[in-house]
Every structure is written in C-alpha cells, then in structure tokens.
Amino acid sequence: MSDSSSVGGTNVDGESPRLEPTVETDEATITDDAELERTLGLTGGLAIGIGTMIGAGIFVFPGLAAGQAGPAAAGSFAIGALVALLVALPTSELATAMPKSGGGYYYISRGLGTLAGTVVGLSLWFGLVFATAFYLVGFGYYAVDTLAELGVTVGDGLVIPLALLFGAGFTVLNVTGTENAAKLQNGIVALLLSILVVFLGYGGLDAMGIVGDPSAPEQFAPFGTMPILTTAALVFTSYLGFAQVATVAGEMKDPGRNLPLAMVGSVLVVGVLYVATIFVATSAFGSERLAEFGETAMVEVGRHYLGAAGAVAIVFGGLLATMSSANASILSTSRAIYAVSKDALLPRRASRINLRYGTPHVALGMAGGPILVLVATGRVELLAEVASFLHLITYGLICVALLALRRDEPEWYDPDFRTPGYPVVPILGALASFALIGFMQRASQLIGVAIMLVTAGWYAYYARDVTLRGALQ
C-alpha cells in the first residue's frame, strides 16, 4: 500500500485494476463500504486440496507409472511429493501475507510485476483447463468400467463421449446450481479416504506377506533411474491441488493458521497415500501387467485383494475422486479468471455475475469450453504433462517471488507463517520445479512454451500499461 500511487494504469479497453485498501481480520475482509465474510474452515481447505489431488494420483496413474518406472514409480511419487512440499511452504508464506483470491497469480503479479503476472495468470487458467480435461478423461475410463462391473460392456469407445457429457454437465451445474456443494465435497473426500485406508491397509499387510499368498518379488527399478525422473514429471499432475487452496485464500477463516495447515497437510496426506498405493499395486501384479490394465489398473488391484467387492469399491472411489477433482478444478479456474480480470489483464466482462443464479457464468464458460475441446483429444499423458508444465512454471515463480519480496521486504509484507529453512527451501523449490519440466516429453514442453508465448503476446497487446507490482489491495 505504501507505493500505491505508482500502480494502476489501463489496458487496451481503458479499464484499470480495481485496487482498494482493505483490512484483513481472521473472520472477514473489510473494504471501504463492505465486508467479505470468511466462511471456509480448515476442513474445507483440506477437502479442496485433497479432493483436487487424489483423483489423479491413485485412480489414474498407477498403471501408467508402473509401466514406465516399475515398482520404483513409488519413488517418482515421493519425488513429486517432495517438490510439492518445497513449493507448498513458500506458497503458504505468501498466502498468509496476501490472503486473497487468485492464489499464485496474485503473489507473482505483486512480487514480480505485470508481465510475469499475466503469463502466470493466464497460464494458470490454461493449466487448470488441461488438468480438468485430464481428470475428466480419467472419469470417462471409470464410468466405462463401472458399466462393465454392472454387466454392461460398452468398450473404451465411450470413454470420451462420457467425459464430454459430464464435463458439460459440471459446467452447467456450476452455473445454475446454487445449492451449497461444499459439504458434499467434504463428505466425498472423507468417504474416499476411508475406502483407501481400508484398501491400502489390507493390501499393505498382504503385500508384506502377513496375510494372503506371498507374491513374487520384482526388481525395484527395472528400467534404471532416468525413468523414475520422467515418471515423476508425468505424475506431478497428482499434486496440482495444494495451490488451489490458495485460490480461495480470501474466503478462509483464520488464514494465518488454516492456509499453511491446509496446503502442507494435503500434500503430506496424498503423498503418503500415493506411495502406499503404488507399493500395494506393484505388489499385486508385476508392473508390466499393471501397465496393460492402463488407466483403471487399480480396479484389478482391488479385485486381486478383495474380490468383486474390492473392484466395486475402487470403481466407485474412482468415479467419486475423478469427479471431485474435475469439479474442484472448474471452480478454481473460474476464480483464476476472476483474479486476472479484476486486475484488468482480461476484459472486465469475464468476471460478470449472472443475475439469475449469482454465479460467474462467463468465467465458468471460459473454463468449460476449452476443457471440452481438450477432453475430445483424449490424450491422457499429454494433458497431464501440459497441466503440470504450466503449474510448475507458476510454482517456480512463486518461489522466486518469495525470494524477491523477502530480499527487499515492503512495508505491507507481514506473513503469519514464515517458510522454515529460508532461503534454501524456496531456492530448491524453484530449481526442482523448473528441473521437473526438463524431464517431460518434447511435445508437452513445446505446447507449454507455446501457451506461455501466447500469454506474453497478450500482455504486450492488451495490458502493457497496467502496473501491478507491489499493489496490495
């Protein structure tokens, strides 16, 4: 706020960022004329983080990852968790200093300026769109498997049509639905965690030879170390959720306590579950067979340990998990679009609210439309990697923004949570985020770079004269 005279400017449409002084309390954000109630508690925050992440890591990736790295895929997930943790700590600090909607975009635009802010803000939009499309394709596979368990064999040809149908359905529901689905989301996450703990508990005992038949041991890393790293880059999509907690930072009660707990906590919870899942899955089958089962390999693992009931439980869990991931991401996307539009980096129209339902229909449409196009491609691995690429850029830059802000702490910078191990943690976080990108497929890297160039071009055309650095509202 100290240098708010130097910020502002206008975009091509003549709109300026809407910057106003606010006072943050634990219960509300107070602006000049109004108050914004903080209504989300720690449980709600954890449900967003875990609910977004858990769908991909457990219910889509085990088969694909085991095929690439063998049992060492567990190591790939552990590497992913470590990188996520290195980023979650700096993100927590920035989130408690700036508990605003917009998350990563907000910190980077305030810490590093408008160009970086625009690239990240728009990349986050596309990154979430890619991630949501990926979750929906995963959902499609589970929907087909559910039908198969019910005795209706339709074949994989129906995966994409089902994913499209539900993608469109979620978008419409989010525009028209005014029921409070947050409690439902909490319930779904609790149910999923229960299913997984029972399943992993039993499978873990079995795998260690305590119950059931002993299984043949397999070489841990049959393909060497390089595939462990490339697989880590692929499965990192399973961790794109902790930062989504930051997109609702403005609505979280007692943000100084709840934001760090929700972000770090959800990474730890899913990280442990992922590693355990891979261990159990690769103990049930050799990684080659697991790879043959593909996206829904976990259903066969469930059948192996607990018979038909296990298969049904996993199919059911997979449906819930991929649905909750997709839905949570659509909501985050709309918040990401709102944050950039408020700052005049996109036309203000993008954040209009629908009079009839009180929902941001334009932003939801800007999320849902591209998602459906990407779902239609059906390229699971490519969607996942591009999503990770765009998020990792953001994560790396969040760490850089933290370093930039800390080196020359502005007057307003007063986080409740300070990253332990500063500056090592953010430096490692930035390096690891950018390094992981290096292990991706060439196609994903090219698409990611192309998207970033387009967003930089948009900045040059549309928002060159907007200044956001240090503009704390």
Binding site: E35, T39, E179, S334, Y338, I353
Partner: protein
Amino acid sequence: MTRVLVPLAILEGETVPAGLPTLLAPADVTVLGYHVLPEQTPPDQARLQYEDRATAALDDLVAEFEAAGSEADHRLVFTHDREQTIDRVAAETGADAYAIPGVTGPVDRLLVTLSGDVAAERIRSFVADLIAGREIDVTLFLATDDEPGGRESLETAAEALAAAGIDAETELSVGDAPFEALLDAAADHDAVVMGEQAPSLRSFLLGEDEERVAAESVGPVLVVRSSDGA
C-alpha cells in the same frame, strides 16, 4: 443503550415493514445488509458488481430508522453463510437482539415469550428499555408443564415490568404443545419478542423456532441474544 440488529437480504429486495422503525425508535439500530453467494462466486467478485446498489438501498433504510428517532448505521456483508455473518456482526456491534422483519403496520400489541433458553431477566430488561413510557400493550407469555412455577415466573416478570411503568398482561399455557401455543398467542399480536433458541435436533429438521414463528405469525420477531459478545 439497547442495540438491535436488523439483517436484510438487501439485494433480494427484502425491506423493513412500516411499523418496525417506530417500534425500534428508542433503540440504536444497525441495518445489516447481507448477500448470500453460491460457493462458485467469490464474495469480492459480487461486491464489485453490487456494492453501489446495495449501499444506496441501505442508506435509504438507515434514513427511515433515523426519521423514526433511532441512532442508525449500516453494515454490508457479502457471504457464503448467512448465520455466521449475523452472529459475527451481532457480536461485533454488541447487539442485544436481532430482528426478523416480517410485515406489520403500527405495533400496538406485543407478545413477549419467556419460554426458551435465554434468561427471562435479559428478555424483560430488553422489553423494558424498548417499551417504557409508550402506548404499547404487552402480553407476557410462557408455555410450561409446571403450572405453579410458570405462574411465579410470569408474576416476577410482570412486577419487574410494572416497576418500569409497563402494565403487562400474563398468559400461561400449561400442557399444550409449547410451540403451537406460542403461535396461537402470536396471532392476536402485532409483533413477538423471544429469546434465541439453542440449536436442537428439532431446529435442525424443521428450521429454527425464531424463523418459524416469524413465518407463521407474519409480523416482526425480535430475537434477544443469549449474551453479548459471545
């Protein structure tokens, strides 16, 4: 000074009935304009779009209460959770009661029920502050299974009100379903004063008693909070 919070769904056109500002004239009034948003919508996003309209409407309402003689101000809150917002603002402003507006002309007959979880003492002193020296008939009401005890409570309250110059009638309902008896009694009155009810299984299933009384009796309900700042 007694303070009453008047929460209104300001952007849904909810407004204040003609008789309410007069009834509340001796009290300080905070008009709480709130707007409940679905979870898809960040409160800040709604604020940018609706703030001006809501503030204009609130200014008009504050003017109405001031014209009737109250010291009035307003708060505007965008929220996902109405209850949480009302509780927070009530605590922050130290409000003794909040109003469910309803519909009414001039209030001549006021029903004050002592049934429920809030100490009769708090309800009585709120009524004394509001009604003392005014031409408003007060009926003290209590539904109970304990006839002698109930009669005694009513008489204690009536005596205390008499000391403040208020001549209150009493009405005791014994053995009937308490909630229905209250609704019957409310039918003959223009407005109701009651204590805040603790959440129960019944309120979870059927909705809060305060809201149900307001819905059934149509007139305004003043709900006395269990303690300030809690």
